[in-house]
């Protein structure tokens, strides 16, 4: 136990920096991926069939491809040279967009048909009905599963170590391979992840309860 504490104290700087990179990667992923998910969800209700089909194909491919494969594809496959960090953010946000579009779509569908009808009767244009009536309420309905998915994506930032993004897992791995304290360092990394994910999931449950009570 003291060994673990010692390792943490010794490599505190690297580990905390790594966690910082993990968090920024996650935040950039959400900033890119969540609007993408909303866009895809809205597109799946578009009147034009071609738009709907395009959205469905993107979502199915995005959901069917493992995040790790998506990461390698973006990093090695894109014709432009991006930093590993940016490649990781793009790959993870593609996955995020595909998954969250399904979650958001469920939320949008949860908006009562009567309200959409009322908006129609008032003469609101489809765009306004979507933006002012359906989306705000649909997102509210989708909020708990969205938060849950964000926690999963935060965990998925660990994959970025495979393309040498200096996030927490990469740091733990590189320290461990020099001092051979594999167990200690991976345990510390796991605890640091849990330090964020467990409170976040408790918070998510609270939000879900609160929303459930209000409706």
């Amino acid at each position: 136990m003291t060994g673990i504490m010692d390792d943490f104290m010794t490599y505190q700087q690297e580990l905390v920096n790594g966690l910082g990179v993990s968090i920024s990667l996650a935040l950039l992923t959400f900033a890119l991926g969540l609007p993408g998910g909303l866009l895809l969800a809205v597109a799946s209700f578009n009147r034009a069939k071609a738009v709907r089909i395009l959205a469905v194909v993107f979502v199915e491919v995005g959901r069917g491809t493992p995040a790790l494969v998506m990461l390698q594809l973006v990093y090695y496959g894109l014709p432009v040279t991006l930093t590993a960090f940016l490649s990781a953010a793009i790959a993870l946000s593609l996955t995020t967009a595909a998954y969250t579009s399904e979650i958001i779509r469920g939320g949008l569908r949860g908006v009562p048909a009567g309200e959409i009808e009322a908006a129609d009767a008032l003469g609101l244009r489809a765009f306004h009905t979507m933006r002012d009536v359906v989306v705000p309420q649909g997102l509210r309905i989708a909020l708990p599963p969205l938060l849950g998915f964000c926690i999963i994506m935060f965990q998925a930032t660990t994959l970025a170590f495979t393309i040498a993004v200096p996030e927490l897992m990469a740091q733990a791995k590189s320290i461990a391979s020099s001092n051979f304290h594999y167990f200690n360092l991976f345990l510390i990394a796991g605890l640091l992840y849990a330090l964020i994910t467990i409170p976040a999931s408790i918070f998510t449950d609270r939000v879900a309860d609160k929303l459930a009570r209000h409706t």
């Binding site: 009562p112 009567g114 309200e115 009808e117 009322a118 908006a119 129609d120 009767a121 008032l122 003469g123 609101l124 244009r125 489809a126 306004h128 002012d132 009536v133 705000p136 309420q137 509210r140």
Partner: protein, 266 residues
């Protein structure tokens, strides 16, 4: 805009004596099933039309055809000079033009629960009529006052009673200055006492000269407030005319049975 016959036709000349609503041979079919069968009727400006009849008669469908929430499969619909022919593709502009003339009030209110009463009434004005926020909110306040809910402006719909919600919904529709108001069983979801608040607002509206079409189960309202009564059954008009006359002396056997059944329950 108008590209030949594939689109709806807008009547450019509005005759002052033309009816506010005119339906001509309106049909609504789902496959084999006929909901509306060649229904024709007209409502003059300032008139209050009451539609009554047993459930499943097609009253609500007919009402919803007037603002094209239901697309009729046959016939023509004219509202305040705008004519839509069934079977043709209706452009977004045509639809907007028609709906801007028609306000609608639903049985289940259908207020937007994430907006305050004020915003429910103000936002459609901003979006549909392009009014400024200030203008829209001033009008919303005035209308809330008119329906007796001046103090509810900042309240969310779920914090209001059913009767209050329905009055907010009426204000929301009136805010767009419609030429015609449609009411689809506006009091059916309400307790009788609460329904009276709503009926009082509707009656005031009628007295001020609003053209109204009301699908209702409130026989008092149909008899005392409406100018014209239409009794429907199985997708057809059974009989129509002066409400007091029909209530006193129905011509059709089926109307007699219906009225007896409804009035006995009251």
């Amino acid at each position: 805009m108008g590209h030949g016959i594939s689109e709806a036709i807008v009547d450019p000349i509005q005759r002052p004596d033309s009816p506010a609503i005119r339906l001509h041979n309106v049909d609504k079919r789902f496959g084999e099933h006929t909901v509306l069968d060649q229904v024709s009727l007209s409502v003059d400006p300032g008139q209050v039309l009451a539609l009554i009849g047993p459930s499943g008669a097609g009253k609500s469908t007919l009402l919803r055809c007037i603002n094209l929430l239901e697309r009729p499969t046959g016939g023509t619909i004219t509202v305040d000079g705008v004519t839509i022919e069934a079977g043709h593709t209706v452009s977004a502009n045509e639809l907007a033009k028609l709906r801007s003339r028609v306000g609608m009030v639903f049985q289940s209110f259908n207020l937007f629960p994430h907006m305050t009463a004020l915003k429910n009434i103000a936002l459609p004005q901003q979006r549909v009529l392009g009014r400024s926020k200030k203008e829209a909110e001033d009008r919303a306040h005035a209308l809330l006052k008119r329906v007796g809910l001046a103090d509810k402006a900042q309240q969310y719909p779920t914090r209001c009673s059913g009767g209050q919600q329905q009055r907010i919904a009426i204000a929301r529709a009136l805010a767009l200055d419609p030429k015609v108001m449609l009411f689809d069983e506006p009091t059916s979801a309400l307790d009788p006492e609460v329904g009276l608040e709503v009926l009082r607002v509707m009656r005031e509206l009628a007295d001020e000269g609003m053209t109204m079409a009301v699908v209702t189960h409130e026989m008092q309202f149909a008899r005392n407030v409406s100018d014209h009564l239409v009794v429907m059954s199985q997708g057809r008009i059974l009989e129509e005319g002066d409400p007091r006359q029909i209530f006193a002396n129905p011509q059709q056997q089926r109307t007699r049975e219906f009225l007896r059944a409804v009035l006995e329950r009251e």
